[in-house]
């Protein structure tokens, strides 16, 4: 397994973490006042989409690096 695949795997885990963090923020938002947690949740979900898009781009761009 080379660095290219390890990086793609790490970004996949990062995207999953962003989803988990977004869910955690939503959970806290339901228990506390203020919209800070809601904004953080939306940012986390957007980050998750961004990471998945980056992962696809990275794998396509580095297809020749083995």
């Amino acid at each position: 397994m080379n660095l290219r695949l390890v990086h793609a795997m790490l970004i996949g885990f990062s995207a999953a973490l962003a989803v988990l963090f977004g869910l955690w923020c939503l959970n806290r938002y339901g228990q506390e006042d203020g919209v800070g947690r809601l904004i953080a949740a939306i940012a986390a979900f957007a980050m998750s989409f961004g990471l998945v898009a980056y992962d696809r781009w990275f794998l396509r761009k580095t297809r020749t690096l083995r």
Binding site: N2, V6, H7, L10, I11, F13, S14, L17, W24, L65
Partner: protein, 196 residues
């Protein structure tokens, strides 16, 4: 004496010796952190009460640190990709950014630790803080070690590129594998300690 299989792969393993070495090392690291994670689970499940991480720790700072580390993995892989495409100057820029990200992570961690110590929250205070300082402290040492290796390959170690670019690229890939392992450990540490 020449070191064998630095560039060409061994026929029996299908890998260079360096890559076998780094994967064996990472396997031992998985056992080290795995044992500590197992200790955390045992201590937590055996405790009558357990504090919620976000009530004792600074989640916003840790979130910033998570973003910094993920960014550093991107710059690290770009550094390696630059070498694969024989763009040495681009490699230097990306490797420099990786080192700066590592430094930023440690500076943020220093502020986090300082705030805990200022509040009297020490490893001896309770089991949660004991395992928190053990896991994050060991992880911080790994970040510092990875930074030292990266700084060597950014500075004096880069001389090898002139004489043997393929060997140098392989070495940077091995450093990158270690750096990604350190990032992966944080991706598990962050939710375990701060969120759950």
């Amino acid at each position: 004496m020449e070191i064998p299989y630095t560039v060409e792969v061994r026929r029996d393993t299908g890998l260079t010796n360096g890559k076998i070495g780094i994967w064996l090392f990472l396997a031992s690291e998985v056992m080290l952190f795995g044992a500590l994670f197992a200790s955390y689970i045992l201590i937590r499940t055996g405790a009558p009460t357990w504090p919620r991480g976000d009530t004792m720790l600074n989640v916003p700072l840790a979130t910033v640190n998570t973003i910094v580390l993920i960014s550093s993995s991107v710059t690290m892989v770009m550094a390696w990709a630059s070498l694969m495409r024989r763009r040495f100057e681009t490699y230097r820029i990306y490797m420099g950014l990786t080192i700066l990200c590592g430094l930023a992570f440690l500076v943020i961690k220093y502020f986090e630790y300082s705030a805990h110590f200022h509040e009297g929250a020490l490893p001896s205070t309770n089991n949660f803080l004991a395992i928190y300082f053990t896991l994050t402290g060991l992880h911080g040492l790994h970040v510092a070690g990875g930074m030292a290796v990266n700084a060597y390959f950014w500075g004096p170690g880069a001389k090898l590129y002139k004489t043997n670019p393929v060997w140098f690229t392989n070495r940077v890939e091995h450093a990158g594998l270690f750096w990604h392992f350190v990032d992966l450990v944080w991706i598990f540490l962050f939710p375990t300690l701060y969120l759950l």
